[in-house]
Amino acid sequence: MALLELRGLHKRFGGLHAVNDVSFGVERGLIKAVIGPNGAGKTTLFNLITGTVPASGGQVLFAESDISRKKPHQIASLGLARTFQNIKLFSDMSVLENVMVGLHVRSRTGFIGSMLRMPAGRREERRLRVQALQLLDRLGLSDFADCEATSLAFGQQRAVELARAMALQPSLLLLDEPAAGLNIYETAEVGRLISSIREQGVTVLLVEHDMSLVMDISDEVVVLSFGKKIAEDVPQSIQQNDEVIRVYLGE
Amino acid sequence: MTLELFIQYLFAGITYGSIYAIVAIGFNIIYNTTGIINFAQGEFVMLGGMISISLLPVLGLPLAIVAAVVITMIFGALLEICFIRWLVNPGVLRMIIITIGLSILTREAALHIWGESIHSLPYFVGNEITSVTIAGARISPQVLWVVGACGCMVIILSIFFQTTSVGRDMRACAANRTAATLCGINTRNMVTLSFMLSAGIGALAGCVVSPITSTAYDNGTGLAIKGFTVAILGGLGNSMAAVGAGLLLGIIEAFSVHIIPLAFQDAIAISLLLLILFIRPHGLFGSRSAGLKEF
């Protein structure tokens, strides 16, 4: 069975059907892209999967278990990480600390342990620091480890968000427009990065407007329009799909 | 319980309940235009009572009340103009703290002006022992004044909001502030106006209830808590529901005298508040999605 399985997922905002009866699956080890015009409901779909927004109907299955009623933090701890379309880094915290928050579910020191600075807690803290630095190193961010995260350039902030999500060691990674606002070199870099993430065995579901990136890296594409799924196929066939062309070019 | 006693309790409940409802509506008016809960709401009621009591010897009862309402309205407007209007994007925490500070300053000023002792207006008609008989129960006519005044305020307010253009502008402001601004409504003045309105109705309520409950400098906090309970009970921002919720709380309190010692009466409202916040934070009558938008 697929790693992630959406069944008749539905979300109404008042009279607006932001996500309308959407079903598809994401197989393990694939990169799957969700595309669609502005306002098609892509971000809402992500919010439904991660539990940020309660669904009006339908089911989300992750690794065979129903996560539709779970809270965001529970879903995250099952190994489902995400980034945000409008970057949501922790301000007033360094890049390193941001990534260390990503390691939250991979660590356990609690309130009492922290207050008393137990040896186990200090060991864990050192481990988190090392792991976070390694991650930053892999993404070429180690020079910025001690900078305040929100003071970085836009592209670097996106990279920090990605590092933070990867710190969670997810089995499924949701990326909401990872290349938005980046130049072509940075976009190409992001493409390589996503492919390398997949090489590590992480399944990726991404929303992206940059078609060349989508066609380059993804194995499958889902097209949303006005909340409805209008197509799902491999990239080459999507490009030939009449309905998709109509939606994108207008009638 | 005899029918007579029952009616007596009922009217006591309705009296207090009307005041709670007015305080709750005051909360709602300001909340709707600004998204702020004005913690100084109870102070308006206290001020109305105190000012009218001070002016009574000079102006006589009717004019003293009118003057008290007007002065409190000006006071409300000044609060908004001096402390709230010019803040750019204040956070909720900041607004809470500012209005709390305002309520403390108002109260402390009242303490220094009027002292610690309790004051009260005379009964509008007759005195403490004058009564009218309703269904065999003896009710003070002042109770009818309170209920009548609060009822009139609710009716006038709803007419104001439904039919006058200023009222409609205020509602537009409540529904969507940005859109209202774009439509050329001066939202800032609407906010000032909402403070004036809340202050005015609070002050009038403070005047009519003063003969029954007396007025002391520290009345405000208790009233604010109960008014807030009622506002939440009815669903924040929903003034018609607040009337029902106010009466409900007043009546529950009145009848609970039988079971719970008087000293713990405040605890009822607060426990109710906590209970409501726990199970239905959007209010008894509100819908789940509408109630908590600002938070």
Binding site: H73, F84, L89, F90, M93 | I100, I104
Partner: protein, 357 residues
């Protein structure tokens, strides 16, 4: 080392102050400094709740009072007439009770101060937890009102129950014996000793909170404050973290209540008043919400001034005014008002806008 430096400085300052009072023959200041230290314990706990967890509590005087009142009531109410009751006997067997004689020579059987203190603090923690479950789901105004309501309930209960002495409160609370022959008491001869006990307790409390903030938990709290949605997406259970911080800050308040009550030898309903809670919020706000050192400094200074009666009958008004002025002009606390930095920032902005335009 960097962690220890501020603490060492603080210890140095505490000792220096005591020596100065010794030399200048102003030992009477130590009394208020001792009391201020206990209030500060509450204030740093509240500072973590407000500054790091972003939650406001207008009911912290309630937790202080729960600590103080329970401890006072348990250590003063004579259980001798219930001598035969099974529960009392069981407590006695466990060594939780002490028998003494009062000044008139009649025998007293009361709960041992340490057991009373433990019970009081646990009660506060439990109540905070129960209150926190519904209340911390709420934000902003709701939380403020709910905690305010809780504070009022505590105040009314203290004022209305004869067990808590009604308007008079509870007096003649016995000293609290600590290890090493120390005792928390208002005894004249133990003034210096108590000054050091109070500041010792405060410094320990401070170190624990510092540790908390610099840890995984503290990071998660700051993350919740900065971007709650992202924190949730990283697996931080925001509701639970907030609840735990709430309980911890309530425990700090209760501990402060216990110690101060034994130091003063009594407690009255004014300690539970709403104005007290507001005052604590004011002090945290002046110190700069997420700034333990600022909260500590302002806590000592303002509590000390208030206790010495500097503000006279305007005591409450001063704190109301502080709240407004700070929130209007320096919402990050007075310590953020670094004039030099301001000037530099303004100049920088000018230059930027000139270059931009």
């Amino acid at each position: 080392m960097r962690r220890l430096l501020p603490i060492c400085l603080l210890i140095g300052a505490v000792v220096a102050v005591q020596l100065v009072t010794e030399v200048s023959d102003t030992r009477y200041y130590l009394t208020q400094l001792t009391m201020a230290a206990y209030y500060c314990l509450l204030i740093i706990g509240l500072s973590v709740l407000m500054g790091y967890a972003g939650q406001i509590s207008l009911g912290h005087a309630g937790f202080f009072a729960i600590g103080g009142y329970l401890s006072a009531a348990l250590t003063t109410h004579n259980l001798i007439e219930y001598n035969q009751a099974g529960l009392v006997q069981a407590l006695q067997q466990l060594g939780l009770l002490v028998s003494t004689q009062d000044i008139y020579g009649s025998s007293l059987l009361v709960v041992a101060p340490w057991a009373a203190a433990l019970a009081a603090v646990c009660a506060a923690a439990l109540i905070a937890w129960l209150l926190g479950i519904p209340v911390l789901k709420l934000k902003g105004h709701y939380l403020a009102m709910a905690t305010l309501g809780f504070g009022i309930i505590v105040y009314r209960v203290a004022l209305a129950s004869s067990y808590f002495g009604e308007a008079d409160g509870i007096s003649e609370v016995p000293p609290f014996q600590l290890p090493f022959g120390l005792a928390v008491s208002g005894d004249f001869s133990a003034r210096v000793e108590n000054y050091y006990i109070a500041w010792g307790v405060l410094i320990i409390g401070l170190i624990l909170l510092r540790n908390l903030i610099d840890s995984r938990v503290g990071r998660a709290l700051r993350a919740i404050h900065a971007a709650p949605e992202a924190a949730e997406a990283m697996g931080v259970d925001t509701a639970r973290f907030k609840l735990k911080v709430f309980v911890i800050s309530a425990v700090y308040a209760a501990v402060a209540g216990v110690f101060l009550t034994h130091y003063n030898g009594g407690i009255g309903p004014s300690e539970a008043g709403v104005m007290k809670s507001v005052r604590y919020v004011a002090i945290v706000a002046v110190g700069g919400m997420a700034n333990l050192n600022g909260a500590l400094l302002m806590g000592v200074v303002l509590s000390f001034m208030s206790l010495r009666g500097v503000f006279g009958t305007y005591d409450d008004a001063v704190f109301g005014l502080i709240l407004i002025v700070i929130m209007l002009f320096a919402p990050k606390g007075v310590l953020s008002l670094n004039p030099l930095a301001r000037v530099r920032a303004t100049i920088g902005r000018r230059r930027l806008s000139r270059e931009g335009g």
